[in-house]
Symmetry: C2
Subunit: 342 residues, 2 copies
């Protein structure tokens, strides 16, 4: 043992609490709270100044856990998405973080990786962490919200067309957006229009498929080929190859996501085909990737920022506590090169 040790370092600063501040400023802890929170009581300017000074001097920082315990609110919201590496969801996550941050809420991000068990685990975990709300972009049509409901944590389903009973949803009219896209293709004279559809875990048909069918039917056109695959670049690539291998190759394709369109583009390029000359393409989402592909993609834009704001507002903002409602945002066809417009 080294008994000669000199206690050089200053005693390990333990956490400064409101008590220390109160003592230093010569006031009570309540006053410190009032100053820190700007209420609920008024404090004399002079006192306030003293407290502020004490806070500065001591380097006091409120303990969020204690506050959360007392208030029953962590000022945090949870986000459950399939995959933050997917541009659409990373854009969404960013938008949700901004919207939450503007209201003083932090964002806990969880990826469910298309894995049902993981999604459930993430939801449980968020519930246990006393988040004040959960934004859910589930892989499921009807996600399991029991854990949230049991904990009385509000949730909103994002990017969801469905009208799940009793849950607030925020999304776009997928069918209408898809119809617009397909109609645009029809307007270019195409009669054999394929569909690259993403696969959903639930058993509900995706409304984008409906929209494609409707547009075709309304125009008296037959349904073109369908390729189902994941909502990813890899999935789109596989779908693209399948279209090319099929006997009755379409002259135009509607892809249910930009990522799939990017994959399709690669498959077409590799086959030496030109877009839109040989095959025209319109996709869905309006992510930045669609603006920088070659050719640039005509795509149906989802107003992600508006949707994120609406979701957060429903959870912890002005719309909190309102009865469940279904907010449907308009999509907008962003016309670029891949559709064949001059």
């Amino acid at each position: 043992m080294d008994t000669m040790t000199i206690p050089a370092a200053p005693a390990p600063r333990t956490q400064v609490t409101r008590k220390d501040v109160a003592r230093y400023a010569g006031v009570s802890t309540a006053v410190v709270s009032y100053v820190v929170n700007g209420g609920p009581k008024k404090v004399a300017p002079a006192t306030e100044a003293k407290v502020q000074e004490a806070i500065r001097q001591l380097g006091y920082r409120p303990n969020a856990a204690a506050r959360a315990l007392k208030l029953g609110s962590s000022e945090t919201i949870g986000l459950v998405i399939p995959d933050n590496s997917n541009p659409f969801f990373s854009m969404l996550a960013h938008a949700v973080e901004d919207a939450a941050g503007a209201l003083g809420y932090a964002l806990v991000l969880t990826n469910s990786d298309g894995n049902l068990a993981k999604e459930r685990r993430n939801i449980r975990n968020l519930a246990a962490r006393q988040v004040d709300g959960v934004v859910l972009a589930s892989v499921l049509f009807e996600p399991e919200l029991d854990d949230l409901e049991a904990a009385e944590i509000p949730s909103v389903l994002l990017s969801h067309s469905g009208s799940s009973a009793g849950v607030t949803t925020v999304g776009v009219d997928l069918a209408k957006g898809a119809r617009t896209a397909v109609e645009h293709l029809i307007g270019h004279g195409h009669t054999n229009i394929g569909l690259a559809m993403g696969t959903t875990t639930g058993n509900e048909a995706d409304a984008r498929e409906e929209g494609w069918v409707q547009a075709l039917r309304d125009a008296g056109l037959p349904e073109g080929p369908i390729a189902r695959s994941a909502f990813t670049r890899v999935g789109g690539y596989a779908a693209g190859k399948r279209f090319l291998a099929s006997g009755h190759r379409p002259t135009a394709i509607f892809a249910s996501s930009d990522m799939q369109a990017i994959g399709i583009l690669r498959a077409l390029h590799e086959a030496g085909l030109s877009v839109p000359e040989d095959i025209a393409l319109v996709s869905f989402d309006g992510s930045e990737d669609a603006e920088y592909s070659w050719p640039t993609l005509t795509t149906v834009e989802q107003p992600v920022r508006d949707m994120a704001e609406a979701a957060v507002r429903a959870l912890v903002g002005a719309d909190r506590g309102e009865p469940a409602q279904h907010r449907v945002f308009p999509t907008k066809l962003l016309v670029r090169q891949s559709c064949g417009c001059p």
Copy 2:
């Protein structure tokens, strides 16, 4: 006053606490804790079963805030990145979430949007929330860690070549990676190799620039043109146009990020130039975008998952508490089409 009110609805279920569980199971609250946490004391199997049953029956879920307050740990880590919409960072965020989740930690995501004030605010905020560690992919060479240090919250700098004193850093050898890329281009016979460099907020030169210079100098080649712009598609697009407008147009370009390369690609396509025939291109990061561009991008891959794991481990895993160290991961040149390889 309506004294006739019939108490129809069941009393609004207030949160079930460990006290309720204890009473229901006929044990003390301590035993409930032992069961829930698997320690620190042993519990008789029969008692444990009773408690588990009570937990199930009552739908008990532990309150994380209380636990955090008691333990001084929120089992949460913070992540500060410039922009989650940027594929490189969204990939990183996903990897960090996975690594943290594997250790039982949740991830609080914050975007600083290249904004210094916002970065500082995010850091303060995370500190106040008692996160157990912060992974920082700062826009700055030497981010302001005072708030974290004051709160004794460990932090690690990610994607950082620097050896900031006293802070653990995790990154790749940017200079070496860049050199490899440029040497590859030189190997293809190029003698006029441009650099599309991202702009950093600090005043330190990015090591990728060094690597470019070194490779050129070692080969006895003159420095090609430099275009500086943001680490984004938009930035790359602008850089690409500048290269094209310059008198002495390079025959090859090294871009400091995949995003910039994607932007450059667009500028070249629009100008009717082919890659790699007219201009060869190699970039940095190894994001999935580089695999699905046209042509596909030869790029210097960063082992993002390994880096994320190392960062999390240093914060709250096996390496916690170790003295500050600098973990440098190897990069790998992913050869695809844009460089001109056959």
